[in-house]
């Protein structure tokens, strides 16, 4: 670059600048195809095939592939794998997928499923009842830290004599057995070792896993032999872009077609732009909450936890942070859930006087409240905003909080291991499913072992009661008891239901999403 000045220039020095300018212009002129124009497409005609470019906030973590804990994992599971049944997003009425029909025994402890006989894995091997057994047993294995592990482990008998039918026997009736069958991806037993290393993901789904460059990109190609028919797209490229701002910028620059992670404010502003479409997926709700480690001496007194619950300005969070895409809550359930109780849900209102009173009472009884760390994932801006709002309000009632932003992966690890020192902010799912799924499965709620380390016989009994029942046959009084137990413990302080959103360019059509939050890209097509 610093080579001596070219010979001809020496005679007429003024030319130096001229030559450089000319060279640069030439360089730009030869760049006749504009990168931006190439990325833009506007004719509105349906395109055959094409690659859908997706932006995700978090990368896949092979060891946590079955935990729905990252948006890239959601794309992977939703595209590469099928489940036995599918719930429509807005109901808990199972629809056929790899299983064509099913029959539950009268006592609710046996389920017979008829399986499709025309399905093959991406490796070419036909799908059989043995694969169902293997998949359920994988989920029952604690090393995969699957949230529905207990439900999978309660499936004790597998009759696989018929390769295209299976009879499952349960230890006791499982009210959420169809939740399990909807969430559980059918995996290939031959490649489980490679799956663990992130080298191969073999399923029966509409797209095949092609490659993964950690921290950067995951590629999928179309499965031409998909049993539902050939998907419209040629493939999917998921780029891992941990900065929501960068995702928005790349969507606006037409370098991405679909972004999964952006702040609600960004979605709001993208929604106003005609070139983009913001989708809201009702039925796949999440719940953002403040978790408490009840073994922390300052938080072991329920009055302190209740005080925190009263100090959360839920309405402000919904209005200012979620930009209206949410509902303030005290109990986890959305309004259509069988466990929803309007009165219980209104238990905690924003009331700083009450909160202060509770803190003062606890302090008078000798509870010492030092400065408490509040952990949250740094990547997603909504957590940081909620944490700072909570911090300001808690300071007013006499609880000092120190913010502790960490990487999402680290936070999830502490959640799974119940290692948070004091307080944390995160989202949970599962309240939109059969209520027992939440109570016995979700890390923050699991009555057996939860992230709050809260253990209470009443809560445990209430959770088991709604779990060990036949699907659809749970007594509403039992749900009321569960709500009572949750509010009595107040170990997990709900803030708001969050309605998931994503944004896509208007050239993307027929996007879908499962109840689990996985994008359905099988029908998706692009226009030019």
């Amino acid at each position: 670059m610093s080579t001596p000045v070219p010979a001809p220039v020496r005679r007429r020095p003024i030319r130096l600048a001229g030559v450089v300018v000319a060279l640069l212009t030439l360089l730009l002129a030869t760049a006749c195809s504009s990168a931006v124009d190439e990325l833009k497409s506007s004719s509105g005609k349906r395109q055959e095939g094409g690659i859908l470019r997706v932006g995700a906030l978090q990368d896949i973590v092979p060891a946590r592939i079955f935990t729905n804990s990252s948006d890239a994992i959601n794309v992977l599971i939703g595209s590469v794998y099928d489940s036995l049944i599918d719930y429509p997003r807005d109901s808990l009425d199972p629809k056929p997928s790899l299983a064509t029909s099913w029959k539950l025994s009268d006592d609710g402890t046996q389920l017979h499923l008829q399986l499709r006989d025309d399905v093959t894995f991406h490796s070419g091997r036909p799908f059989t009842s043995k694969d169902v057994e293997f998949s359920i047993k994988t989920w029952a294995d604690p090393t995969w830290t699957v949230q529905l592990q207990r439900t999978a482990a309660a499936v004790t008998g597998f009759d696989t004599t018929d390769p295209h039918a299976i009879t499952l026997t349960f230890a006791h009736p499982l009210s959420n057995i169809f939740d399990l069958l909807d969430m559980l991806p059918i995996i290939d037993k031959d490649t489980i070792g490679q799956l663990r290393e992130g080298k191969a993901f073999v399923g029966t789904g509409p797209f095949k896993f092609a490659s993964w460059s950690p921290g950067s990109k995951i590629s999928f190609t179309r499965n031409d032999d998909y049993w539902r028919g050939k998907p419209a797209l040629d493939g999917i490229d998921v780029s891992v872009i941990p900065d929501p701002q960068a995702q928005v910028a790349q969507l606006r620059a037409h370098q991405l077609d679909l972004i999964l992670g952006a702040s609600y404010r960004d979605f709001q502003s993208l929604g106003k732009d005609k070139q983009f479409q913001v989708n809201q997926w009702n039925g796949a709700e999440g719940q953002v909450y403040v978790g408490t480690n009840v073994t922390n001496p300052a938080l072991s007194d329920v009055r302190v936890r209740q005080a925190i619950a009263y100090a959360l300005d839920r309405k402000r969070v919904v209005d200012e942070v979620l930009r209206g895409a949410g509902v303030p809550i005290s109990t986890p359930w959305p309004s259509y859930s069988p466990a929803y109780d309007e009165k219980a849900n209104a238990t905690y209102d924003y009331d700083l006087t009450k909160a202060k009173k509770l803190v003062d009472e606890a302090k008078a009884d000798g509870v010492k409240i030092p400065k408490l760390p509040l952990t949250y994932p740094a990547e997603n801006p909504i957590y940081g905003a909620i944490a700072q709002i909570a911090q300001a309000d808690l300071a007013k009632v006499g609880i000092e909080v120190e913010l502790d932003p960490q990487e999402q992966a680290q936070v999830i690890q502490q959640l799974i291991g119940a290692k948070f020192p004091a307080l944390w902010i995160l989202s949970h799912g599962y309240a939109n499913w059969t209520p027992s799924t939440l109570a016995v499965s979700a890390y923050p709620f699991n009555a057996d072992h939860n992230a709050s380390l809260y253990s209470d016989p009443t809560y445990k009994a209430a959770a088991e009661k709604v779990w060990e029942a036949k699907p659809g046959a749970v007594d509403p009084a039992d749900y009321a008891a569960l709500n009572q137990a949750l509010l009595k413990g107040s170990f997990l302080l709900e803030i708001a239901i969050t309605l998931p959103q994503d944004a896509s360019s208007t050239t993307v059509h027929d996007l879908g999403q499962t109840k689990r939050g996985e994008p359905i890209l099988y029908d998706t097509y692009l226009t030019k």
Partner: protein
């Protein structure tokens, strides 16, 4: 970004002219600071300093105070620079944020410089310690400033203190090397050799000849290093390694502002102006000092 971490990039001869009477030189530097570019620099830095020191008196609100209902308000009579997405007054946050940078600039840099000078002076006298120290400085200089920052944060966790430690670690070798060059130049001077012949101790030579003669390049480097420190704070806060939320620093404010640049372009303007003013002021000071030295 970290362009001037390593060396002052103007081709100045490092060795000062020995025997130059001290007071005249001091006058020359003072003159440089009070006229032309130097004066602009001093005024800029002084202004920022004043804003930072008087911040608590000038700020209409607390730095973390959330004002009810004032969500992302544009600049206006109530909030001169508007409010952020958590209803905080940006002017107040900026005024308080300056203080973090002042600590970093006027405490961490001098500490790093002093340590570097001391180490450089002491070690450069004996060949063995000189080699060891030089290799150690090489080693520290071999890491780009931000990599050093990320590494140190892995040990200490994010925070103002970490930023200060990083800056000390960045500046120490820079000053160490600078002093060492002066030492080597001065030692070759006939009068120094002569004083050694008549029995002057190393310490005496260092104090009487080396230090006075290296003060000028050190002053210039100090101003350069201070501007680098502002950048390092900004960059570290930008990557989330600087001050912890909710406390403001200029870097974290710019980061927040940048996040909202599309909806609220006014947000980043205030803190960015201050950073540019501070860096510009320090640069002008260093340039005018360097010029005065050569004149």
């Amino acid at each position: 970004m970290t362009a001037s971490v390593t060396e002052p990039l103007t081709p100045v001869p490092v060795g000062p002219v020995p025997g130059d009477p001290g007071p005249v030189r001091a006058n020359r530097l003072r003159h440089a600071l009070l006229h032309g570019r130097g004066r602009v620099g001093v005024v800029l830095v002084g202004l920022v300093l004043l804003l930072g020191v008087l911040g608590p008196l000038l700020a209409p609100y607390g730095p973390t105070e959330q004002i009810q209902g004032a969500n992302l308000v544009g600049p206006g009579a109530g909030h001169w620079l508007g409010t952020d997405e958590l209803n905080r007054d940006i002017l107040s946050r900026t005024l308080y944020g300056i203080r973090v940078d002042l600590v970093v600039v006027f405490a961490a840099v001098p500490v790093g410089a002093a340590l570097g000078v001391l180490l450089g002076l002491v070690t450069s006298w004996w060949p063995v310690t000189d080699v060891i120290a030089q290799r150690a400085f090489d080693l520290l200089l071999a890491f780009p400033a931000l990599i050093l920052g990320i590494l140190i944060t892995a040990f200490l966790g994010p925070g103002v203190f970490t930023v200060a430690v990083v800056i000390v670690a960045i500046e120490l070798p820079v000053f160490g090397r600078l002093v060492r060059t002066s030492v080597r130049t001065v030692r070759e001077m006939p009068f120094v050799e002569a004083s050694q012949v008549v029995g002057a101790t190393p310490w005496w030579v260092l104090r009487k000849h080396v230090l006075p003669n290296s003060l000028e390049p050190l002053t210039v480097q100090l101003a350069v290093s201070m501007s680098v420190a502002v950048f390092v704070e900004g960059a570290m806060s930008f990557l989330g390694l600087g001050v912890r939320p909710p406390h403001p620093s200029l870097g974290s404010l710019i980061k927040d502002g940048v996040r909202l640049l599309h909806e609220a372009p006014f947000f980043a303007a205030g803190p960015l102006t201050i950073v540019v003013a501070l860096v510009l002021g320090l640069l002008l000071i260093s340039q005018s000092l360097a010029e005065a030295r050569r004149a």
